[in-house]
Subunit: 636 residues, 2 copies
């Protein structure tokens, strides 16, 4: 869930080399439990290294699950048994384990969240990864499908599936439990990494799980509960599960988020602090250094106890830092616009699905506590609750990342629209960037997934100044609901925004041109298009740039007029090409019945890459340099 | 769920007039329980009348819930209290109640599933209907949103929400229970119409619910259980609920599907019969007559006991029947194609979400019992299970109605696609027709909702002969998943299908023409287009008809060649215009950089109407006569 994209740590970094893992695994003087504990802390060290180097990643849940995961890989998995994480946020920890074991090439340690490295969430193209996850709630269902396949083939093996505790708020989890019990799927052992915190707050604050043991038991599962950091207890729980081969089993593993580094452990949070700081993002240099030292000390103390040699680490010096350029941000602009609107309009209510920090809602929550509803990771429930509110005259605004909001509750959004009330949706983390979290979090299907909802506008601002104009439009226009698509990362904006009002269906001309036009939308692609036009001008190609805030309501006549006499139209989608804005613009132009310029349609055409912004934009041919080259080539 | 569209009953029909309801409600010699029982049976009579006249509707669940619903309306609802059904299939029963009480105009009794009458599932435009339902699992969430709105406004009232028992397989139900308990929503009383059967089979066969009482209790709800036909028991359960104002409450009402007509009651099913016959569709004339007589006898016996006058019924004589024209069906063609393919390919597995009859899977289930998985009403779980199977080398095919399959598990379908396995989806009940069930069941967003899934084909056959060609294409093409869109109703096919093989991205020319072209797809619109072209020919307008099986993979050059020299291109979408096939075709043509003919784009532009096929096609301007008129007018 939460996806803070932070800064890389610019100080000396440390990691444990493969040879040290090999040494610790064969330390005969240590018990299996002691070896596994050391192994897990060494994986924590490497996890911290990977995240510090990448600038983002999920420390908290990697650390909370690492004892359990290490135990599974070192002592429990037999033959073809498979382990995977349903939540997937703990991928860095799992990568560290797979690298330590040699399943993954060691050099991948340096490539977390980089192109051709290790994606932010699990992907089956990575050796050792069994399923794609990061979209929550699917893991147990996936395991069930695999069990059915095994049974058909007469293949015997066990599946260990890790879930989060916040993840248990997703309806699919409970949907998936039913038939696992009815089909006696004793092959499956689910393990709940019960670290008590979700993206933003404590699970108990967000949407308390109640009597979890009774819940699982009532769904027909055998339930164990243990301390997820006490490996003797966990091992016993696994044995007890094995004694129930005719029923699926679940182990509720009580864990500590951030386990292993004292000040990252959620139990170290001040009693009045309600937000945990190490869910996503990267630690600062100071936290990194102290955390790494603590982990190293743990391992060395354990080695001391058995008289073994101290741990030897490899060192990486920081590369020269790039000074940040001046950037603009849409989320704070949205926060301000929402507060201003809400102060004047009592009907406005904000709903959140466990992303209050990412979606910029904390000031709203503080200013209008009665009008804020934290729904937990329960997007379907959130959207249908909003429908109920709208039927009673409120104007509810649902918030989540675009990837989740446009798809998980897709049928619920349509159901609301058929009631002809006004319900608004704000999908952040829109588009290709940040690409670091991987495809589960890159919202590249939201236009297509929602465009057919009747009486429904999809809008996206190209700069902070456009945010209040679009929010006002969505709230004020009678008889229509809508979706505000927001890019979450900061970006440099190279143009002055000229508009003070918007006309539905029309774009904003940022730059005139006589040869070609780039028509696009949103913070990143508009900026890249503008820079491409600047570069093309130096080559004598005069390129118009039109930013389109209205992505599914298109004034074909206006656009036809704007494009008259141009040789080339380049549409750029920060979205899959199929079903994106470009398709709709071209269809609207085709209906105008006038001569079309040559057309080049750019956008995403396959599962997007995970990596850092510049390399991924370039990979998909969407950075300003690629745009420039493509247009120059097309005009030849 | 299940939607058999049957025949209207062509014999004398009977209904209870409003005056008789008024008389029974004020019979002072009868107890509240006796009056309510009579009222409920009279509503059953009118429900049977409505469904017999409409030719389809859900008898079974209307009858199972009518005692509870009648009690609520006659004795429990106070002031602004609201009742609604989350499942919505029981709409005919609820309409009968609202008509009896005068909330709905009495003449609506004659308009079930007719244009401007009463839609097949609840819609808020109908007086007395609180939410739109028919898409399952949303009701409790909606109630929660309303409670939050009431609390904000300081308004006090209670909400009674009816759910099905099969509906409890939907994950959203369990998702919605959590925060209702955490927010102490004592304002909500859910009632489970526990009639033990879902669309096709017994709930226990499909996906057993286990210890339902323990499940609800573990989610923090106060639980009552009672005989849902014993109104003393039900009334006591309601009182017990009222004694727990600080917690949401649920009453598990044990009911009998089809209650009130002996041979429609599920308890009368033969012990070896596994399929219940009265879930959807209409009774035949004989069943209608016997059923109506039984219900009349019940009421008259009760009136006898208190010495009151016998019930007086109104009579409606049947209208002259229209002889059916020769029609073709896609579902049996799909069944045959699937069986043939599966016999040769052991990897093929079929998954169903409680629509085994509607989706044509019974022969597959019988022939390949090990390769058939009944998932229950759990589409997300079904799709992710399929993903797991595909990762283990199977070729899973998921089945449901298109409206549900393309939206409820939308994120899960994408997740599977990112794993680059082959998973197929077959969405039936596609398009505008049958319109009788209403917008929750009209699949008009599936192209848009799925087109952006990468490496994914959306295909739709225009006639039975095209079904095996498309299924073969989907199964054989490496590296791509896909969605087969199937219209479920039979339709007259006026052309001979000329193709024996298909080229991806290209259409099939059914008729040449020099003036205009209609480009469309699917069983109904292709037939209507062909007939329109026939009619236009008589007016001297020579119209080409192209049927397009590939809805999101378009060979623009081929189409441009086909349309060369024509004055008019008419695209017809059996889908919302926004995001439909027409948009994608026009975009592909615009990229060809040649002169476009005049374009007219037809399709659905607002929430579709509910009614009978001919009237609804006409309403949306999509029947052959409207197409002809529109093209003639455009060419003027």
């Amino acid at each position: 869930m939460g996806e803070l994209i932070g800064k890389v740590v610019e100080s000396t970094l440390y990691y444990v080399p493969k040879s040290e893992f090999d040494r610790i695994r064969t330390l005969n003087d240590a018990s299996a439990v002691d070896r596994t504990r050391m192994f897990a802390d060494m994986c924590r060290l490497n996890t911290l290294y990977m995240i510090a180097r990448a600038g983002s990643g999920h420390v908290g849940s990697s650390f909370s699950s690492l004892d359990v995961v290490s135990w599974l890989y070192l002592n429990a998995l037999k033959n073809d048994d498979l382990y995977f994480s349903s939540k997937g946020h703990d991928a860095p920890g799992l990568y560290a384990v797979l690298i330590a074991l040699g399943t993954l090439p060691f050099e991948k340690l340096h490539g977390l969240r980089r192109l051709d490295g290790l994606p932010g969430h699990p992907d089956v193209t990575v050796p050792g990864m069994v399923i794609n996850s990061g979209s929550l709630g699917m893991g147990i269902s996936k395991a069930k499908g695999m069990v059915r396949a095994d049974r058909l083939k007469g293949h015997k093996r066990r599946y260990y599936v890790l879930t989060g505790d916040g993840e248990l708020q997703e309806g699919q989890i409970w949907e998936s439990l039913v038939s696992a019990a009815n089909s006696n799927m004793g092959e499956i052992t689910a393990i709940v990494d019960h670290n008590k915190l979700q993206s933003d707050y404590r699970v108990s604050q967000t949407s308390d799980l109640g009597d979890l043991k009774a819940k699982f038991a009532s769904f027909g599962w055998h339930v164990e509960r243990c301390d997820g950091h006490d490996l003797d207890e966990f091992s016993e729980a696994l044995e007890n599960c094995a004694a129930h081969p005719g029923r699926p089993q679940v182990i509720i593993a009580d864990t500590v988020k951030g386990r292993g580094v004292s000040f990252m452990e959620h139990t170290a949070m001040e009693s009045d602090a309600d937000m945990y700081r190490f869910h996503s993002g990267a630690p600062d240099a100071d936290s990194y250094g102290k955390g790494a030292q603590e982990l190293l000390d743990h391992v060395n103390r354990a080695l001391d106890r058995i008289g073994a040699t101290q741990l030897s680490l490899e060192t990486v010096e920081p590369s020269a830092s790039v000074p940040p350029s001046a950037t603009k941000r849409l989320i704070p602009a949205y926060t301000d616009a929402l507060l201003a609107r809400a102060a004047k309009d009592e009907r406005i209510v904000a709903l959140d699905a466990d992303l209050v920090l990412d979606t910029g809602l904390i000031p709203f929550k503080e200013q209008f506590p009665d009008r804020f509803v934290e729904c937990g990771i329960a997007e379907m429930d959130m959207v249908s609750q909003a429908g109920g509110m709208a039927l009673q005259g409120l104007v509810p605004i649902c918030h989540s990342f675009g990837c989740f909001l446009s798809t998980r509750p897709n049928e619920q959004i349509y159901n609301n629209a058929t009631e002809r009330t006004k319900v608004l949706y704000v999908g952040s983390l829109a588009g290709l960037i940040p690409a670091a979290p991987g495809h589960s979090h890159q919202s590249l299907r939201d236009i297509s997934a929602l465009t057919s909802v009747p009486n429904f506008d999809i809008v996206e601002p190209c700069c902070p100044e456009e945010v209040p104009l679009l929010l006002d439009y969505l709230i004020s226009t009678p008889g229509r609901s809508g979706y505000l698509r927001l890019i979450s990362v900061p970006w440099a904006v190279p143009f002055d925004y000229p508009a003070t009002s918007l006309t539905p269906g029309q774009g904003v001309v940022l730059r005139e041109g006589k040869d070609a036009a780039i028509v696009t939308y949103g913070l990143i692609m508009t900026a890249e298009a503008y820079m491409a036009a600047d570069a093309l001008a130096k080559d004598g190609i005069d390129t118009k740039v039109i930013a389109c805030p209205f992505l599914n309501r298109i004034d074909g006549a206006w656009f036809a007029e704007q494009l008259k006499g141009l040789k080339l139209l380049c549409t750029v989608d920060n979205h899959y090409l199929n079903g994106g804005f470009g398709d709709q613009l071209l269809a609207a132009l085709a209906r105008q019945g006038q001569a079309m310029p040559q057309v080049v349609s750019l956008g995403i055409t396959d599962v997007p890459a995970s990596g850092q912004p510049a390399e991924v934009l370039r990979h998909h041919g969407l950075d300003s340099a690629s745009l420039k080259d493509r247009i120059r080539q097309e005009l030849k």
